[in-house]
Symmetry: C2
Subunit: 164 residues, 2 copies
């Protein structure tokens, strides 16, 4: 492996690790557990998982990897707060969407070469990218991995007897 490949493979491994930890947490939570707020008055785990699914789904167009799978999730989990619209979805539908989006996204990630990770993402213009080369797809991968960790840390609080 070249240095570039080692660096991007390491980051991809980190993404997969974070997603699989949330997968495990989800498996250990019943559909009723998903209704629990992570702290009084805060988002339910149900909403956080929907929110992460919507944000990850948006990576398909943002990174030029194809069409997104669930454009309707934005209204439920991004444009509106918890309890406004989220509940049109069942827990089963949410769990399936989470797995499907991350599965297809990870498969698409695995095909990208290091030089492709360093291309601009679609929310930055050519001009701006010329000035700020760190606004690349790799930055988006790291940012979304951390975003998943951020809400994963909250979601785990709904698990009885586990804070850490």
């Amino acid at each position: 492996m070249t240095q570039q490949e080692l660096l991007t493979q390491t980051a991809l491994h980190s993404w997969k690790q974070v997603i699989s930890r949330i997968d495990e947490a989800l498996k250990s939570l019943s559909d009723e557990d998903l209704q629990r707020e992570v702290s009084p008055g805060r988002n339910r785990v149900f909403y956080l998982i929907g929110h992460l699914t919507a944000v990850h789904d948006r990576l398909f167009p943002l990174l030029g990897l194809g069409e997104r799978l669930h454009p309707n999730f934005d209204e439920l989990f991004l444009d509106n707060p918890d309890r406004a619209k989220a509940d049109v979805l069942s827990a089963g539908e949410l769990r399936r969407a989470w797995s499907e989006v991350n599965g297809k996204l990870t498969a698409a990630f695995e095909k990208l070469r290091p030089e492709e990770w360093l291309l601009r993402h679609n929310a930055v213009s050519d001009d701006e990218f010329a000035k700020k080369p760190l606004r690349n797809r790799f930055a988006v991968l790291l940012s979304r991995t951390n975003h998943a960790s951020f809400h994963g840390g909250q979601a785990i609080l709904a698990k009885k007897g586990e804070g850490h």
Copy 2:
């Protein structure tokens, strides 16, 4: 910049972004706020910040960057749960240690060249590293960035009126 430099610079930028978000959250929390549990029966923000400080401090020897600054933090924030020993420290001491450790660590990170990020870290043997080249220092950087995001997501719950 070479591809390798762009990749490691992007990751370092991500680390700095995560740390500075926690810095901002800390500034907005009073010493009394730090005593708040992130969810009923869970860790206080005080403990989470101490825990992150201890884990980051351990990166100095783990990554071959020098001696750690606060070896005593392990007993307070790693070997024991919240409320056992943590309170020998004042909020002011905790805030100073958090800033000092991350400041010195980030300065040391900035000096590392891409090829140095790809060296093994000190918790993996030469033999094991030969088989698993992804167990490098770069993996530790990404892992600790995500760990900080994970607990940062919890700590923010102690902030009134902000869940996200």
